[in-house]
Every structure is written in C-alpha cells, then in structure tokens.
C-alpha cells in the first residue's frame, strides 16, 4: 500500500487588489509558483456570447512564453467550467464575467495556483458565489508515494500528476484532471490527501479576507 511521502504544502502568499483597472485582482503564490488573476464583472457581453438566463463566464489564460495554443485553450475551458459552478451566474443574466490569468512563475502545481488565484480575485471583485473553490495538485512518484503540492522536478519525475478542485461547503470534488498512469488506489489516496489539504487552503482564504476587512468597522 502506498503512503504519503511529502505531506507539506509550500508556503502560501497572496495579495489582493494589486491591479487598478480591473474590478478584482489577486496574486497567489504557492512556493515559487506565482499567478496573477484579474476579474471584470459583471460587464457587458458580445451578442454572440450572450446568455438570456445567466452570465457568460470567459477565461483568458496567458502563458509567459509563446503564443497561446490548444493546451492553453483546454486549461481555459477547465477553469471556466470550475468558475461557472461556483459563481451564481443566474443572478446576472445577459452579462459577462471575464477572468484573465497571467502565469508569472512556474515551479510546479501551476493549475491549482491558477484556480486559487481565480477564487481570490473573484472574492476581491465581490461577485456573488455559492461557495469558494480551492485546488490542490498531487503527484505519484515512481515508487507509488504521494507528494502534495509538487515542484516542477517532482512533477516530471513522477508517473502521474493529478489536480483536484474542491468546494468549501460539501468538500466534494468540483474538478479533477490527471495526466500519467496510476491505479484506483493511488487515485483515491491522492483525492483524500488533497481533500485534507484543501481545508488548510480554505483557512488561508478566510484569514486573508479577515485581514483585509479588519479595518472596516
């Protein structure tokens, strides 16, 4: 039976309202992986993308180097469907919520950092959400041990990389995506470890918001 090799999350840092033009923005650091997220919303929407009953969520992910391709499109769709689940889109029909993500540094666990930055930016923008979302990346190394919040080297050396996103109310899995080959047992272990880790991340969100609003009477 495989066991956990590294059950430490790297140090987290976040900064909210770092940009002046967008409705909400946040920089999220997981160790040395940094992602900057900006949110505009609800704003006017192009007629082709307009939904009569809900807000249209649009995600733009910009990698640091090169022109965005199919891979970035797939990441955008993933983050878009995750955000559509947590936002109360029915409250803002015929509008759009635009989320722009910029990769600033990537030393592993990039997708989960993107989703965490997204959630913080949405909180900063104050758009109605039904729950919070946080994401955790795990890796299964060649011996079958689980590593939480892996670095790029650990991701490359491992045999599988699995990312999970959880909601804050039920702690259920909103999003999961994997690459590599792994067994059912390894998958479940990664899922449960990530679930435990998500509790810490939600605590971090809570503390950062408490700090931000501490001066407001």
């Amino acid at each position: 039976m495989s066991c956990l090799k590294q059950s430490n999350l790297r140090g987290f840092a976040c900064e909210q309202s770092c940009l002046t033009r967008s409705d909400g923005s946040a920089t999220f650091n997981q160790g040395e992986t940094t992602v900057l997220a900006a949110v505009y919303g609800p704003v006017e929407v192009k007629l082709s993308k307009e939904h009569v009953e809900k807000a249209a969520v649009d995600v733009i992910y910009k990698p640091k180097v090169g022109i965005p391709g199919c891979k970035e499109k797939a990441t955008e769709q993933l983050i878009k469907s995750t955000c559509e689940t947590v936002l109360l889109v029915a409250l803002h029909p015929r509008t759009a919520v635009v989320i722009v993500l910029q990769e600033m540094q990537n030393t592993g666990s990039l997708l989960s950092c993107c989703i965490n930055a997204c959630c913080q930016a949405l909180m900063d923008a104050g758009i109605n959400m039904r729950c919070l979302v946080c994401a955790v990346t795990t890796t299964v190394d060649q011996e079958g041990h689980i590593i939480l919040d892996p670095t790029s080297k650990q991701e490359e050396d491992g045999k599988a990389v699995l990312t999970f996103a959880f909601d804050s109310k039920t702690n259920g899995v909103i999003m999961t995506t994997t690459s590599g080959i792994y067994s059912s047992q390894e998958y479940q272990e990664c899922l449960l470890s990530a679930q435990h880790a998500s509790a810490k991340i939600f605590e971090f969100y809570r503390d950062s918001i408490l700090k931000k609003l501490s001066r407001v009477s």
Partner: protein, 278 residues
C-alpha cells in the same frame, strides 16, 4: 403531447421517466449504447477506424497518415503524433462553419493527452534515423454526427485507428543519404500494447449518475466525468470539468463501471481487427 412537454420542461420530462427507472431511450442508468466499430474503412490512409454509438448516434471517423519529418529539437530520437479533432457544421445543429471551436480544440488536446499518457504509441519505435528522420503520425478524427458523448467516440476511433496503422519499412542509403520506402517488405504495426478506453458519465439533478449521455442528457447534466482505463486496471485519464460536486465514492463508481466498459470495448475491437485479417 409528450414531445411538447419535453420541449417545454426537459428536466421534468426526464424526472418522470426516472420514476419508472428508465431513461427516455429505454436504457438503464449505467448502460452504454450499442457500439459499431469498423476498422480499415479508409483505403488511402495508413490506418483508419469508424465508431458509431447507438442507432442515429454519435459517429466519429478517424484516419491516420504517416509522414517522414525531422524530429522536434528536444526529442531527436522520438517520433510524434499530431491528433486533430474536427467538428464540422454537419454534425450538430448548434455548430457553424468556421475556425475550430473551443470544444474541438479541447477534444484535440484531450486526444493528445490520452495518446501520450497511456503510451498507446511507442514514440521511440517511430524513429527512423535519430536526429534526422522520424515518423510523424497525423491523426485526424472527424465527427459525422453528434448525439452526445463525443469524448468516448473520439477516443475509441483514434485508438482503433492507431491500432490499425501500419508503417512501411524505410531504408536510408548511407552514401547518398537518399531515403527509400521499401514497399516489398511487410508493413510494421505502430501501436504498443496499451489500449486505453474512455467512458463518460453525466450527473443529473446533482444526484443521479448516467453512463454514456446523449446530447439531450448532456444539456441537462449538472456534471460530466470521463474516465479512461487500461487493460491492467490502471487509469490514464480522469477528467471532470466543473459541475456539481461529487464524492470520492461516486467517482469510484464511475471508475468501476469504466473498467467493465473498457474490457467490453477491447474485446470488440480485438475481434473486429482479427476478423479483418482472416
């Protein structure tokens, strides 16, 4: 009357059927549609397959063309596979002609991930001359009809086509450096032993799990999960993009059902491939 009700209240229409423990097309909740697989359909391609789910259901045809090319700079001794999924306007009423939609691009990326993660094509075996010449496989999947569950159909078509692909032997003249295709010798198959099979599930009303959703069911679904399994029971893809939350037990049920489906589909494709040879 029923179809008026279906148009006006599609979700309620489904719920009424569920009280009688069936889906409108009569399937059980975790049952998959009938599958027809045909390999070697395209004579001009190096490998091809056609997959059809259910009568009047999702149809995907896939062709593989091999090309000799210079290797990518960071992998001089490996060939590569370039998958491309096309959703032309004819396959569904909601699609328009034009540049590839986000859905098509996501599917192309999903196929690329599936091929790479499962190792169903041995990239090292595609190398002809390290650093100079490798095989590049262009895998083009075209959807002819879209009635839900494109992921499964595309994956099945792509993998079946790759298993059907054979490459001619290549000789390189050492002195002149000329490349010659040896049509006399037997063609070598391309696929490795791994045979991934994808199975998709949809969740309805945050509660009920369906397997192999049709297009209507996909529109009503609150979440979709795709699981790809290999022969030895390991997983190579588990993809859930947003939607209502699922517990680990529910995900495990999907995995279990996908394992069984994988075994069934592998049995079918192997039998079809064997029938073609004799």
């Amino acid at each position: 009357m029923a179809d008026v009700f279906k148009k006006v209240e599609p979700a309620e229409y489904y719920r009424r059927h569920l009280t009688h423990d069936a889906r409108p097309d009569g399937r059980q909740l975790l049952a998959f549609r009938d599958v027809v697989v045909s390999v070697g359909t395209i004579g001009t391609a190096d490998g091809s397959a056609l997959v059809r789910l259910g009568g009047g259901g999702t149809t995907v045809v896939c062709g593989v063309k091999a090309e000799l090319a210079s290797p990518r700079p960071d992998t001089p001794a490996r060939g590569y596979v370039v998958p491309n999924v096309e959703l032309p306007a004819l396959c569904a009423a909601t699609l328009r002609p034009g540049p590839p939609t986000a859905l098509a691009q996501t599917l192309s990326q999903a196929m690329a991930d599936l091929i790479e993660n499962s190792g169903c094509v041995d990239a090292g075996a595609l190398c002809v001359s390290p650093g100079r010449l490798v095989w590049a496989l262009h895998v083009d999947a075209v959807c002819l009809a879209h009635n839900g569950n494109l992921a499964d159909a595309c994956a099945a078509a792509v993998v079946a086509a790759l298993r059907d692909t054979t490459l001619p032997a290549i000789t390189i003249d050492d002195e002149t450096g000329r490349v010659r295709v040896d049509s006399g010798r037997e063609r070598a198959p391309v696929a490795a032993s791994a045979f991934p099979v994808a199975a998709s599930f949809a969740k309805f009303d945050n509660d009920i799990l369906f397997a192999d959703p049709t297009a209507e069911e996909e529109a009503l679904a609150t979440a979709t999960v795709t699981v790809a399994t290999l022969e030895d029971g390991s997983l190579c893809l588990l993809h859930k993009a947003g939607g209502s939350a699922m517990t680990e037990k529910e995900l495990q049920q999907c995995v279990d059902r996908a394992q069984v489906r994988g075994a069934e589909l592998r049995h079918l494709v192997n039998k079809v491939a064997a029938s073609k040879e004799c």
